[in-house]
């Protein structure tokens, strides 16, 4: 069993789509989980559908949604205060040191973050890289494991099949509730999750299957050191 899990992602809603089922599972087992959320998603394009947010009101709205999502998952929340879309332009070592401060205090047994280079959004890639740097900078005996999440097109060709395939069907309702907490962001293709009950069984099944297995790569420190 894990001792404490720390989730490190840059945006409010990354935890919902990426790891909410796994978090719910850990919490059900009594494992404490802390979310270090990098930004408030200030530069998001989705303003609600129909729109109810604007560029200036969005940060406060997303902060509320994030708190709601973390309350749903019963997960502790720490907001890191970076600005959306700018993490890759920060000093990487500074961000890593910032994260290491939290890790040395919390002493998690597992860190969940994005796989650098395979997570599409520059914030995902750069915060993931800083999180891995932070763990690498720790004493090897005190290092937590890292589960890195990849979802860029073609990542399986490059990285192979993911090491961890977490089946979270039992926690799907919790995950759905977490996703829907991010009301301003649940638009476009994710808007379907709002009307799950009205959907055709086949479509519904596919939507659930897309979210019911959470995939991660176990980070290999030595292998990646040599590169």
């Amino acid at each position: 069993m894990e001792k404490h899990v720390v989730v490190i992602f840059p945006h409010p809603d990354d935890e919902a789509f990426g790891a909410a089922g796994s978090v719910a599972k850990f919490r059900a087992e009594g494992v404490p989980v802390t979310y270090l959320c990098g930004t408030l998603g200030q530069m998001g394009r989705n303003m609600g559908n129909p729109t109810f947010a604007n560029r200036e009101s969005l940060p406060e709205i997303r902060k509320k949604e994030l708190k709601q999502a973390c309350a749903t998952l019963d997960m502790e929340l720490k907001m890191l205060g970076y600005r959306d879309k700018t993490i890759e332009f920060e000093d990487k070592q500074e961000v890593a040191d910032h994260l290491r401060g939290y890790l040395e205090e919390i002493k998690p047994s597992l860190v969940i973050t994005h796989y650098p280079g395979y997570a599409v959004h520059p914030d995902h890639n750069s915060l993931g890289a800083a999180a891995i740097q932070a763990v690498e900078d720790m004493n090897p005996e005190e290092r937590p494991k890292i589960w890195a999440q990849a979802f860029s097109n073609g990542h399986e060709e490059a990285l192979g099949a993911p090491d961890i395939k977490h089946d979270i069907h039992d926690y799907f309702d919790k995950k759905l509730q977490t996703i829907l907490s991010h009301d301003s962001q649940v638009a476009g293709m994710f808007g379907w999750y709002k009307q799950l009950d009205d959907l055709d069984e086949e479509v519904k099944k596919e939507l659930i299957e897309n979210q019911a297995i959470e995939r991660f790569y176990l980070w290999e420190f030595d292998k990646n050191d040599e590169k």
Binding site: M43, R45, N46, M47, G48, N49, P50, T51, N54, R55, E56, S57, P59, R83, K85, V120, H121, P122, S152, N153, A187, G188, G191
Partner: protein
């Protein structure tokens, strides 16, 4: 925000004439554009809290989509595809263009005080 009312926006633009104002100007098609469609390009740009003074301002459009041009001493500020407007926190004029699903594509905002960092 609400659909642009051209006279009211023109009046607001004129209120800032010859004053020092802070600008937020942005355009984006989303960080996932190329991920979701390999034929699409991910493009975007923004500037925030740039202090300028303009001496002439116009909003022009066809009733659904608008352009705004601000003429400065040494250059121009321009935005196209604006559809909605609002006054935020009393002194900030927010203009934005949204797509059919309510996603922001372009924004031009003017304020006499700096926008939140």
């Amino acid at each position: 925000m609400k659909p642009i009312e051209i006279e009211k926006v023109q009046q607001m633009l004129d209120n800032y004439l010859d004053k020092e104002v802070y600008i937020h100007l942005e355009t984006t098609n989303g960080a996932y554009a190329n991920h979701l469609d390999a034929n699409a390009y991910t493009v975007g740009a923004y500037i925030r809290n740039t202090k300028v003074t303009y001496k002439q301002a116009k909003i022009i459009g066809d009733g659904s989509s608008y352009r705004v041009g601000l003429k400065m001493e040494l250059g121009w500020i321009y935005a196209e595809g604006l559809t909605d407007w609002t006054i935020y926190q009393e002194n900030q004029l927010l203009l934005a263009g949204h797509d059919r699903e309510g996603r922001l594509m372009v924004a031009l905002e003017i304020s006499e005080t700096p926008f939140q960092q």
